[in-house]
Assembly symmetry: C2
Homo-oligomer: 334 residues x 2
């Protein structure tokens, strides 16, 4: 396919169509937008002309005059991470039901890309939903009063709405379950974070203490299956007496599952495993993963709902309504 060089000179506008069809602009507009009040012959002539010229209305001009389309920016660190895939799918679904469009940005976990995205996003969307790693003040300096809903921001946000994930009860239930099954030496594979231990670790500690379980068997893991496997090895080397592990998330748990098998530990008989997130992926591994599960659809729906309120100036949801509670889903691994 070779196109004539210089063949893309000027965008075809409604005026070109009008001229070509021998009518005025607004007649063209009427024909294209299926308004009534137009002779069907005229309409056909306009439609033909439009097609012949390859005319397509400018979305900007159209958007400028009828202020009805809503576009949300969704910023996530990694679409290939199944958790964010689920969040994105949920957000897309909730947005679709309102007829909203969603521009997705995958920052591939890099602060630099996140910044770049924030830079451009503000002039492309009406509101932002996202999982950001930068500081709130930096975020604010980019978004400038545009509605923003954060996801899984642990420290309660003051300036932005934020969907909080509450796993306290669910993790408690998980530990209770393990204890009921006779496990007393329970380890945790936490998120390998530079600074403080995760809040999920706090939940673990609280739940373990409540059940008289020692809380010292904790190892950091990279957020990947390999990371989970490696961490399990480290954990078992240091604490061979461990018979059950709770993990920061399902990906780590899946890696642990795989590693357990390699180490000759049968799951759940020799080693019980409970993850966090409740990914659909958990059902694909063997044995299927028990997990403290999040309702990602609700998460997405909440985020969109809050954006809607922010946008319309209605009463916004309070912090205690912007919560997704995680609950224990038992399956084969524990």
């Amino acid at each position: 396919m070779v196109s004539t060089p210089g063949a893309e000179p000027r965008k075809i506008t409604i005026n070109d169509v009008a001229r070509s069809a021998g009518v005025s602009r607004q007649t063209v507009s009427r024909a294209l937008n299926d308004k009534g009040e137009i002779d069907s012959d005229t309409k056909q002539r306009v439609l033909d002309a439009a097609r012949a010229l390859g005319y397509r209305p400018s979305r900007f001009a159209r958007g400028l005059v009828r202020q009805d389309t809503m576009t949300i920016g969704l910023v996530i660190p990694d679409l290939l991470n199944p958790f964010f895939t689920e969040v994105a799918a949920a957000a897309l679904e909730a947005a679709r039901s309102r007829g909203w469009h969603v521009v997705v940005y995958d920052t591939t976990d890099r602060a630099e890309e996140e910044r770049g995205t924030l830079q451009v996003i503000t002039s492309q969307v009406d509101a932002v939903i996202g999982y950001f790693s930068c500081s709130e003040s930096e975020l604010e300096s980019y978004t400038r009063g545009m509605p923003v809903v954060l996801i899984g921001r642990e420290g309660r946000s003051t300036r932005f709405s934020s969907i909080r994930i509450d796993g306290e009860r669910g993790v408690h239930a998980a530990i209770a379950h393990l204890v009921a099954r006779g496990h007393t030496r329970i380890g945790m594979l936490d998120h390998h974070t530079r600074a403080e231990p995760s809040i999920r670790h706090d939940w673990f500690t609280a739940a373990a203490k409540a059940h008289g379980v020692d809380t010292g068997r904790v190892v950091g893991a990279d957020q990947s299956a390999d990371g989970g496997g490696e961490a399990l090895r480290t954990l078992l080397a240091a604490h061979p007496e461990v018979t059950a592990v709770f993990t920061f998330n399902d990906i780590i748990a899946i890696g642990a599952l795989r590693e357990a098998r390699r180490l000759g530990r049968r799951v759940p008989r020799d080693l019980a495993v409970i993850g966090f997130d409740g990914l659909q992926l958990g059902a694909l591994v063997e044995p299927p993963l028990s997990s403290v599960a999040l309702d990602t659809r609700k998460l997405g729906a909440l985020a969109i709902e809050q954006v809607a309120r922010l946008l319309s100036g209605l009463d916004t949801l309070e912090a205690d309504e912007l919560v997704v509670h995680a609950e224990l889903h038992l399956s084969g691994s524990a």
Copy 2:
């Protein structure tokens, strides 16, 4: 949080800022766009006024006057299907490198949603990349000359660019590998399609024939892990002599893997399994999945590249360049 009722009456425009700062519109524009030629005091005053009023420029007005932002619509049937997740991630990455924005639409595998999406998408994006189930003529009636790049459309498309997936060589290699390992009774779990068998089935048949392998052991499977498991059971019931299976895709293969374990067949010793797609997910199951792997990143990059050419009127890529070749990646399952 309660906002003043009726607090969202009128959008704040550049004029409001200009008035409030006691300058003209274009001075505001200059201040906001970091143009030179402006007194720094004035600039500050304008910026303050803008912030105080909560002013944010209209993306439509801006887009109308500077024709520089490019937005692509990406239409996929199911974001939760790992294959499409990878395609989407790849497309997002390729788009980002060009500074393009991507609006993602998940039609949840429903023709009705696909139609709805096509309806609205045309007025929202500059080009479309997607995996569509509708007919080409229907597609054409919606997109009306807008650049469209199809993905994995099997029948070579005449009216649209289409990224073709070529698994012929890869499947041949897969069967060759199985035969070399001593497998002679090889089954296939095909896609459960209403009409004709899939083209992947054709590749299987050709490769099997080339190796003197019987091609009659084929069962249809739903595109899910459960579907794969079920199909494997059916296959083994009808053909218990089978020692290896090739599957339509990795999801089906993963289900088969799981089912094989349940049936007490050890993989790959008792049953070798080779999937198609080469999903990252395949590395998470046990044993890790062998697969005829697609380079999804290349797929995304190709699609975006073609869109770019279509859009700019440059020479477009020929059909034989719009191909992603699949190749055998061996791992634990075969």
